[in-house]
């Protein structure tokens, strides 16, 4: 399978990339790791006339501290995220979830920016970024703006990105010391997208849940924040009745597609189980 013809551009700066994308218009697509776009091009489901490869832009790489935030350049690969001690120690759920993305070869190429910006409901980072309260930096011809992950996703492959804009970095607030976390992902095999997945970040105080955030992957056309489910566990010690209530509240907002991963009812059912398991494991980890 060979993609359709296109012109290849490799800008060296964000400004040049943004200018190219603005000038070339709808016929151009930015290229990050390429592990979503290139397969789509080989299947001719995507036929961009121009590819703007972001690999030549050094400024889009790397992980740095900015106060209480970790700022991750959009072209930082999943392999690089896994190699970061800072991430493993201060945002361990990110390390845990990245290990569940695809396979080692894909993680050498796949980037955090591509994963969050593509708008694919199957990607693991979007729901996690919503759970962590992350913010995306978007840059276009008119300048830069910051959009909360929670406000970014509008539909399958539809996001807050305007034509000509690229996502340049992801800013992740470091969770409180002693927080508990878990990313539970049900998948049919290594490399598969989630049948359903849940991210939980919580803190405990005196054995009760003090704060909690729950995100859901691939159970709706966008990633979801399960706000009601998170509210249901606040002030509890996650007893069986509370867990049941939280799972039901999460299932109530799920609207998965029926596909090879199972019918709607099954995917909602296992989605609830992912929430329950993630809550239990996160609570066990919290100090």
């Amino acid at each position: 399978m060979i993609p359709g013809s296109f012109s290849y551009h490799r800008p060296a700066s964000v400004a040049d990339a943004v200018k190219l994308l603005s000038d070339l218009g709808d016929d151009a697509r930015p290229l990050a790791g390429g592990h979503s776009l290139v397969p789509m091009m080989k299947l001719r489901l995507a036929t961009p006339a121009h590819l703007v490869d972001l690999h030549g832009i050094a400024a889009l790489k790397g992980i740095r501290r900015d106060g209480n935030n970790l700022v991750i350049g959009a072209m930082t690969t999943q392999h690089e995220l896994l190699a970061s001690d800072d991430i493993a120690q201060s945002v361990p759920i990110l390390h845990e979830a990245v290990l569940l993305i695809a396979d080692p070869q894909v993680r050498y190429r796949g980037t955090i920016g591509g994963n969050v910006a593509n708008g694919d409901p199957g990607n693991d980072m979007p729901a996690l970024m919503m759970t962590l309260g992350a913010t995306y930096r978007l840059e276009g011809a008119g300048g830069a703006r910051d959009v909360a992950a929670a406000d970014f996703y509008q539909g399958a492959y539809f996001t807050a990105l305007e034509p000509g804009e690229i996502l340049t970095s992801v800013s992740v607030p470091v969770p409180a010391v002693g927080h508990g976390y878990a990313y539970e992902k049900l998948k049919r095999k290594v490399g598969d997208y989630a049948t359903a997945a849940a991210a939980v970040v919580l803190t405990l105080s005196g054995g009760k849940v003090a704060t909690c955030s729950i995100g859901l992957t691939n159970v709706h056309e966008t990633p979801l924040l399960a706000t009601d489910a998170a509210k249901a566990v606040i002030g509890t010690s996650l007893d069986a009745a509370t867990l049941k209530k939280a799972a039901a509240a999460a299932e109530a907002i799920m609207a998965p597609a029926a596909d090879a991963r199972g019918p709607v009812e099954y995917r909602k059912h296992v989605g609830g189980i992912m929430v329950t398991r993630a809550l239990q494991r996160a609570a066990a980890k919290a100090k």
Partner: protein
């Protein structure tokens, strides 16, 4: 479509060629360079048969364009034997442990295992299995591939290889 001139290092030798932007790296390696050890399996980034080593990373060469490899340092299965032509530890491991049957996945398996052992010279069985989880084998059931990599790790580390009891 205008062609682009690319240069890169493959198995220690400088190579060059004219490619369309849409030419996938695996096609450049197989057709322009005539190195057909790197296989094309699924063409959809799942099977890992096309895995090569690029600048210290295992990459599925069916999911990268040749123009993106400009200036890079690539190793393919053709570059895996020792300088004197004898089999490298991994190749020897696959031979000794029967780590292949039809052999189609083997170049990708060996290239992936090569990088895995560079990053983690003494992997556990579980680390090996996760490390090759991007490579599909339809013959062996993986058991002997895992043993082949354990054999190679032992040889590289200069320790005796002890096959685990089944």
């Amino acid at each position: 479509m205008a062609k682009t001139h690319v240069t890169m290092k493959v198995n220690g030798a400088e190579v060059e060629g004219l490619v369309e932007p849409r030419t996938l790296l695996v096609h450049f390696i197989r057709e322009n360079l005539q190195m057909t050890g790197t296989h094309i399996g699924c063409e959809t980034t799942h099977c890992g048969a096309c895995t090569v080593d690029i600048d210290g990373m295992s990459v599925k060469s069916c999911t990268m364009f040749a123009v993106q490899a400009q200036g890079s340092d690539i190793t393919t299965i053709e570059g895996m034997a020792n300088a004197d032509g004898t089999l490298s530890a991994l190749q020897e491991g696959f031979r000794m442990m029967h780590g292949l049957q039809c052999g189609f996945c083997t170049p990708g398996m060996i290239m992936r295992a090569h990088r895995l052992l560079k990053e983690n010279p003494s992997p556990s069985e579980q680390e090996i299995r996760m490390g090759i989880s991007g490579n599909i084998c339809r013959c062996t059931g993986y058991q002997n591939i895992v043993k082949a990599i354990q054999y190679a790790a032992a040889k590289i580390n200069g320790v005796e290889f002890k096959e685990a009891a089944e």
